[in-house]
Symmetry: C2
Subunit: 193 residues, 2 copies
C-alpha cells in the first residue's frame, strides 16, 4: 500500500532553511549547508552505502506532493521531479501561467484531496512529500504515514523550523530505520495511529 513519506534535510536544531527565505533565496541564508550531503551523489555507484540506500528509496517513489513554497523556488523542477512521476502541488491559489505549463503537474487546493490523488497516482509506490507547510498540513490532518529525516550535524541557529504549529497533542512515532550516511544520519519513522 502506498505511504505518504516526508523527506526533509534538517539540522540538529530543527531547521530546514536559513533565515531570509525569498523566492530567489529559497533555502534562506546558509540553508544550502543542509543539502551538502547530497553533493556528488548523482553517481550513486560512488555514494556511501547509507546515503545510496536512502536516495534509491527516495527515487523509487511514484508521485510527489509538495507546496508552492517548495515548488516555485525550485523552478518547478522543470516539470519533472524524477522519472516523470506525477507531481501534485498543494495550493489555495491558482498557479501563475509559468508554473501551469507541465503535463505532470496538478494544482490541488484541498490537502485531503491532494493526498488521495497522489496516492492513487503512485499506485503501490510511495508518495514523496516535500515542504514545511505541506508537512504540517498533512500531520494535522493525520495524512502523513512516514517521516524520513536526513539529520545534518550542524546547529543552524536561525531559520525556518520543520515542526511548528502542530498544537500540544503529542504525535507518537515508531523508529523504523536508522542509517548513517557519509555525513547525514537518516532517521525513518512511522506515524503511529
Amino acid at each position: 500500500m502506498s505511504s505518504t513519506v516526508l523527506y526533509m534535510s534538517m539540522s540538529l536544531d530543527g531547521f530546514i532553511a536559513g533565515p531570509n527565505e525569498r523566492p530567489d533565496n529559497g533555502l534562506g541564508d546558509g540553508g544550502e549547508r543542509l543539502h551538502e550531503w547530497t553533493e556528488g551523489l548523482e553517481d550513486l555507484a560512488q555514494a556511501d552505502e547509507g546515503d545510496r540506500k536512502v536516495l534509491e528509496d527516495f527515487l523509487s517513489t511514484g508521485a510527489v506532493l509538495a507546496g508552492r513554497g517548495t515548488f516555485e523556488p525550485a523552478g518547478g523542477w522543470g516539470g519533472d521531479h524524477h522519472d516523470g512521476v506525477p507531481i501534485f502541488i498543494f495550493s489555495r491559489h491558482q498557479p501563475t501561467p509559468e508554473y501551469a505549463q507541465w503535463p505532470a503537474v496538478t494544482f490541488v487546493s484541498d490537502i485531503g484531496d491532494a493526498v488521495r490523488r497522489a496516492k492513487e497516482a503512485a499506485g503501490d509506490k510511495n508518495v514523496l512529500v516535500h515542504g514545511v507547510g505541506t508537512a504540517q498540513h498533512c500531520l494535522r490532518a493525520d495524512l502523513l504515514d512516514e517521516i524520513q529525516i536526513h539529520l545534518i550535524p550542524v546547529l543552524l541557529g536561525e531559520g525556518r523550523r520543520l515542526f511548528e504549529h502542530l498544537g500540544a497533542e503529542h504525535i507518537e512515532l515508531d523508529t523504523t530505520q536508522v542509517v548513517r550516511g557519509r555525513e547525514a544520519t537518516h532517521l525513518r519513522y512511522r506515524v503511529r495511529r
Copy 2:
C-alpha cells in the same frame, strides 16, 4: 582530557520539556514522555545494549554542571547526582538555604569559571552538562565539547526547545556515534572548532 558533554533527551521536534514548566512541574505538561526510555534501566543488566552503553557512559562522568532550572525542580538530586561526584550549579544568584546544604554542590556565577572548575574536579573523566540555559551559555561561549542527544520518537508540539537563542552563526558538529536503544536513538556529536 576531560570533555564537557551535554546529555539531553529531546523529541524529534526539538523539545526537552512540555509547556507550562513550573518548579512543581519541572518537565512541563507531558514532558515525562521524553524520559520514559529510562524506565526499568535501574537494573543495567536488564537494559537494551544500546541504552546500557549510553547510560554507563553517563554514569562514568566525574562532575556535573547544571543550571538552577534543572537542579531545583530535581530537588537538587538530594545533593548526590551519581556516585557523589562534585556538582557545579551555574547561577547568577546565591542559592536559597535549602539548596546550599550539600557539600558536593558549589554555586558558580560565571560560566567560564563553572566549566573550568567542573573540568578540574572531573580529572580525566568527562563533565556531564545538563539543562537548556547552561547548554546555551556553554555553546555561545564555545565551552561545550560534545553533545549526546537521546532522540525520542515523538512530536511534542509545544514546550521548551533545547536549541534556541544561539544566533545565526552555524555551529558545526561531527557525528561520533549513533546508537539505537530500545526506543531512543542516541546521537553523539563533537563540536567542531
